[in-house]
Symmetry: C2
Subunit: 206 residues, 2 copies
C-alpha cells in the first residue's frame, strides 16, 4: 500500500534499504526528530529517490510500524495452553527478552511511538493487541483457577513482562553505564534474574 508493490529487484532492494535506514533513524530520534535527509543518507539514496518509493515521510513510518506490530506479538501468540503454566510464562519472558536483544531498534521505535501518544498505532493497540492480550489473560486466569499458577492479575503480569524485557533495549545506554559493562552481558544476567523472579512470583503455594 504505502510502498509500491515490490515487483522488480531494484524495487525490492531499495525499499528494503529505505526501511532499514528509516528504522535506524526513527528509532533513535522519533518521528518528528528524524529527517528525510538523514534517512536518505543512511540508505545511500537521494532524497527525491526516497520519495519515489514512498509518498511521504509518514508513509515510511507507518509502513515500519505496521510491519512491526505483527512480529512484535509473536512471542505472546506462542503462549500455549498445553505445557506447564509457570514454564510457559517463563518461556514467554525469555522469548521477549531475546526480541529485545536481537531487535533493539524495533523496540525503541515502538517505545518512541507510544511515548508520543501512539498517534499512528492506536488502532492496532485497541484492536489486535488488546484482543490478543484479552485472550491470553483468559488463559492465565484458567491456569490460576486450576491452581497451577499463583493468583496474579494477568494484565499487570503482562505489563511487567513487557516493561522488564523491553527495558534492556529501550534503556540500553543506562543499563550499560550503570553496570559498567558492554555488549550482551546484561541480557544473560537479566535472563537469570527474570527467570528467578517470575518463577518465585508465579509458582503456586502448595
Amino acid at each position: 500500500m504505502a510502498a509500491p508493490r515490490t515487483r522488480t529487484r531494484i524495487q525490492a532492494k531499495n525499499s528494503e534499504a529505505i526501511l532499514e535506514a528509516a528504522l535506524d533513524v526513527f528509532s533513535q530520534y522519533g518521528f518528528r526528530g528524524a529527517t528525510l535527509d538523514q534517512i536518505a543518507e543512511v540508505a545511500g539514496l537521494s532524497k527525491p529517490n526516497l520519495l519515489y518509493y514512498f509518498p511521504s515521510k509518514e508513509a515510511i513510518h507507518v509502513t515500519l510500524l505496521s510491519g512491526l506490530m505483527d512480529t512484535w506479538l509473536d512471542p505472546l501468540r506462542a503462549l500455549h495452553h498445553d505445557g506447564e503454566p509457570v514454564e510457559e510464562i517463563l518461556d514467554y519472558v525469555r522469548r521477549k527478552l531475546e526480541m529485545s536483544r536481537l531487535y533493539p531498534r524495533e523496540s525503541r521505535l515502538f517505545a518512541n511511538e507510544i511515548l508520543q501518544g501512539a498517534p499512528r498505532i492506536l488502532d492496532q493497540i485497541e484492536g489486535e493487541l488488546k484482543a490478543l492480550v484479552d485472550d491470553k489473560a483468559a488463559l492465565i486466569r484458567a491456569w490460576i483457577a486450576e491452581g497451577r499458577l499463583a493468583p496474579v492479575d494477568p494484565y499487570h503480569l503482562m505489563f511487567s513482562i513487557w516493561a522488564t524485557t523491553q527495558h534492556y533495549a529501550d534503556f540500553d545506554i543506562q543499563v550499560h553505564r550503570v553496570l559498567g559493562q558492554e555488549g550482551d552481558a546484561p541480557f544473560a544476567e537479566a535472563e537469570r534474574f527474570l527467570t528467578q523472579m517470575y518463577r518465585a512470583a508465579l509458582t503456586p503455594a502448595r
Copy 2:
C-alpha cells in the same frame, strides 16, 4: 546558570512558566521534535521572550533535566538500612510508582532522553546515578548475606523496579487502551500486583 538568577518576581514567574511548558512539550515530542514556538505558546509568552530568559532551546532542556535527576533519585535515596529488608524494598516500589503517577511528564522526559542515547545526561548517569545505585546494591547484598532477603542480583532488581513502575507513566496510553480503563485505576492495581510479585520474589526461603 542557564536561567538567569531568579531575582525579581517576574523572572520567577516566567522562568517557571517556561520550564513548565517545556516539560509539557519536550516530554511529548522529545528534544528534536519540540519547537520553541510550541513551548512559547503553551507558556503564554512570545518566542523572543523565551530567549530572553534562556539562551537557547538546549539550555531549557538541560535545565529541566538537571533539575529533574535529583528529584528522580529521591525514592532510591530513601532506601534505608534500618527496617525490614523486604518491606523497605516494597516501600521503594510504592514510592517509585507514586512518582510515575504524580509526575508522568518527568518520567517521559527521561525516557525520551535515554531512548535518544542520553546525550545530555550521560555524565549524571555515570556519576550520581551509578554511585547511588552501587551504594544501594551493596546494601541489598548485605541484606542477602544476612539471610534477610532472597538472593537476587541487586542491579537487575533495581532495573526491574524502574522498568515496571515507569512503564505506567511512559506507556500510559498503551496501558489504558489495553485495560479499557481511564484515570488512575491502573496505578492502584499495579501497586497490588507489584507488591505481591516483589514480596514473593524477595522473601527469603526458610
